[in-house]
Symmetry: none
DNA sequence: GATGAATGAGAATTCATTCAT
DNA sequence: GATGAATGAATTCTCATTCAT
């Protein structure tokens, strides 16, 4: 929708508190009132965007995981899919990883929820790998958190520095994370 | 100082945007005007706290690293020191990891700066371990980012869930991170 | 009409300012635009209801008065007719006595107008009673105002407390008001 | 206080909904923000005024009643005191009798509360008169409501017409109301 | 140094009304 | 006649910052 696109651009560019409903309206080519016909508050609008970002990400990950075969391949594929998705959806990435922080308690809660969901996705596949004997038994919840944090940090740094394309980091980052849980280097 | 303590408590409890200068003044037992004698803006006050948090952390890490001997021991010690420091300074931890996000561009910049400094600390020692032949050559900058992200995520989760003491996670988290860069399990 | 009924319910339930045109439209099962085909403004719609309320009331009173014979009987009958009409048309009663206050100058004026008309009705019959020698000469305008105020207050209290049916109050209230103008107790 | 005076004038002149906080601020010679330092909302400000009006009225009535001796004299004195108080405090009178209607549920509740308190004052003295044998037994609650309604109506009419000073109506109105409860004409 | 009342530029939200379809 | 998305002016409330005392 026009409003969501405008909001995505605006929030990604100026952050939650830095973006006025006036900005969104202007960017959407609508009046402020029109925004409130579709979203009952600024927070709601942002939340809708956040959900969109998470849905996009989960979809991409699920797809990549489904396509890959074997424990190691699945987690590697998920990692690559995540980084590619982040790189291809810069605005949503920024919203999800950066601007959703400090936007008030409701947004904070949703952010945490979505991160937890994502972590859960990773964990399921680590558990499978453990069950299959591909990995030694371990606290996969902790490992999944480590992966999420690592990816989040690397992507956030990329958002600011843009030193080189995110996809180029995939091999090395994958090696690190796979090693962290006990996969042998390929 | 009384003001800094009051601000630390207030910001940690309600976040940057959720904390009013009135709150800080009340908590400090001072008038709002008195705050401005010492800090020229809300942002400045927050920045001072952020610096305090980073300094505390760096000091603890440096100390721990100095005490330890050998590449592996140093990085493990740093990791433990970090988690213990986070657990012992909950308010500052929250400020540094959570509330400093979304508090405006200047705060964002400083936050990034401090995280970079911390990452650098880790990196130096990874580089030494590589130089000493304890670790294979690798992108230690990336590895340091992974470590920072991992710790940040785990600590942030702990701030919300409090399922068990942070220090109990040290062994397993250390094992994960040490493995990630290529240390063999002890 | 469907719109008037919907508006009556809505305004009676939530008051003038508390009722949105959206509410009326929803309740009427029409679009907001359709409302404006029939009523040029929210105020007009409310005014139409107010007139309906007053017309209903005047009709009932006139009828009751016509049926009764003799000065005292006529005023007593009017009083009873008023209370019964109020009780039987709760929504209109609320509109007329309660919600029409504070709804803007035009509504205020009409409200006053209608109350004056009602007072006039009472006054005419008090004047007749005086002319017939059933009552001593007096300021019948003032007396009519007293009657209107008394009824208004009692009915308004009933709208909120509902302690007992309004019609049960008729004998005692009639006695009070008849005495007030100089009728001897029956 | 400057704010209360300004608010009194503004609300009396333009009603609750017709008065903007901007109007009050301008009239008080203050900024809008200053209003909110002292009153947390427009409603609160209005409520404070309403309480002031009621307190003024109750004080005057109590005083007048205390001074008078004997049942009949007391109620007559109260009535006169009320009318004089209304006439001397036109703005507060308008606030209490007119503008407090339709200003939202909280104001409506307080308005009702205050009217009930006033009615109670009248009722106590009617009860005493009954106990002393000066009046026949009767529903004094109903009678008090009648009195309140009558006075309210007469004063409201006066606010709009100003045909003649309110105090001139006292003798005739007193006669009407005293007769209504069964006092013999003096 | 301290006070706290006052400032004033916002900022979100509301809602009667309009009008292209 | 009907629709309902869009309007936009209005309005309340916010809060970091200032400054006379």
């Amino acid at each position: 929708m026009r409003i969501l696109e405008a909001a995505r651009r605006a929030f990604a560019a100026r952050g939650y508190h830095g973006t006025l409903m006036d900005d969104v309206a202007r960017e959407a080519g609508l009046s402020k009132g029109a925004l409130y016909v579709h979203f009952s508050s600024k927070e709601d609008l942002f939340l809708a965007l956040l959900d969109e970002a998470a849905a996009t990400l989960v979809e991409r990950l699920t797809e990549a995981i489904t396509r890959a075969h074997g424990g190691r391949a699945k987690v590697a594929a998920a990692l690559e899919a995540a980084l590619v998705a982040f790189e291809d959806n810069e605005d949503l990435t920024r919203l999800f990883l950066v601007e959703s922080a400090g936007a008030g308690p409701r947004v904070d809660d949703r952010r945490r929820q979505l991160r937890t969901a994502l972590t859960g996705l990773v964990r399921v596949h680590l558990d499978e790998a453990v069950a299959d004997g591909d990995l030694p038994p371990q606290d996969t919840g902790l490992a999944a958190a480590v992966w999420m944090g690592a990816v989040s940090e690397v992507v956030t740094a990329w958002l600011h520095e843009r030193s080189r394309p995110l996809r180029e980091l995939v091999p090395e980052l994958a090696a690190l994370l796979l090693r962290s849980v006990g996969f042998r280097d390929a």
